[in-house]
């Protein structure tokens, strides 16, 4: 019943590193409390495409979550209240990942089928595109 989400949020650029880490660990603990898993990536300071709350730059942070919708709802509520967070976006990714997985499996099985007649048994790498 666990769904995968990607939560990207932007923090104001004048935030200190340790404060940022504190914020992320708070979010992570709330995720693990709700029996989910979380992986975080800090993208760093980037220029924003438009002015958000009078800032032209921001620190981008990406969280890859696994959990229920209620957990994400809670996280978003927290982010909305947190002052340094100026923008966030949650995307549900499990359907997309499922689709990509399916395509990958299809391509791998096609490759195995074409590599079965032992002309040149390749070592299972996929540099050459499969021609239909």
């Amino acid at each position: 019943m666990n769904r995968t989400y990607e939560l990207m949020f932007i923090v104001r650029p004048d935030m200190v590193d340790e404060d940022l880490n504190k914020l992320i660990s708070t979010l992570e603990s709330s995720v693990t409390a709700a029996h989910g898993t979380v992986k975080s990536e800090i993208w760093g300071k980037r220029r924003l495409a438009y002015t958000v709350r009078r800032f032209n730059e921001g620190i981008f942070v990406l969280l890859i979550l696994e959990g229920t919708g209620a957990m994400v709802h809670e996280l978003e509520r927290r982010l909305r209240v947190t002052e340094p967070v100026i923008k966030f976006l949650t995307v549900r990714t499990d359907e997309e990942l499922k689709r990509l997985d399916k395509i990958k499996k299809l391509r791998d099985s096609r490759k195995k089928a074409s590599a079965a007649p032992p002309v040149t048994p390749e070592a299972g790498t996929e540099p050459a595109p499969a021609t239909a």
Binding site: M8, A49, Y50, G58, K87, V91, L100, I103
Partner: protein, 127 residues
């Protein structure tokens, strides 16, 4: 024109030659346009490429995602998405980029997500 007068005279009778010169002066213009329309009509490739009106379909552009087998169109890879966005920030229509319909739909969804998270602008610097 001179050749035409000779040919029916050789093949036809006297009545035709008597009628033709009278008719030809009025019929010559529609005849010419019919003959001109002939080669232009069934060959849309020539004028379609030169004219700016783009009435006919262009030289067949292929979908970049289909050929390179890029499956995942993520809102995070700005460089990929920026290639499909005009300078004004608008999403380029698929008849210009040659993207196929399912990929264009995913692409536009990704661009809209990227705009929401300030990775792409809503409106560019164009005036």
């Amino acid at each position: 024109m001179a050749e035409e007068t000779k040919a029916p005279e050789a093949s036809g009778g006297e009545t035709r030659t008597a009628e033709r010169p009278v008719e030809r002066s009025s019929d010559s213009r529609p005849e010419r346009s019919d003959r001109d329309r002939g080669p232009r009509g069934p060959r849309p490739g020539g004028p379609g490429g030169r004219e700016g009106g783009r009435k006919y379909f262009r030289r067949k552009k292929v979908c970049k995602f289909c050929t390179e087998k890029i499956e995942a169109i993520n809102y995070k890879d700005v460089r990929l998405l920026a290639g499909f966005v005009a300078e004004s920030g608008k999403i380029v229509p698929r008849r210009l980029t040659g993207v196929c319909t399912p990929h264009q739909r995913r692409l536009s969804a990704a661009i809209k997500q990227a705009r929401n998270i300030a990775l792409l602008p809503f409106a560019g610097r164009a005036q």
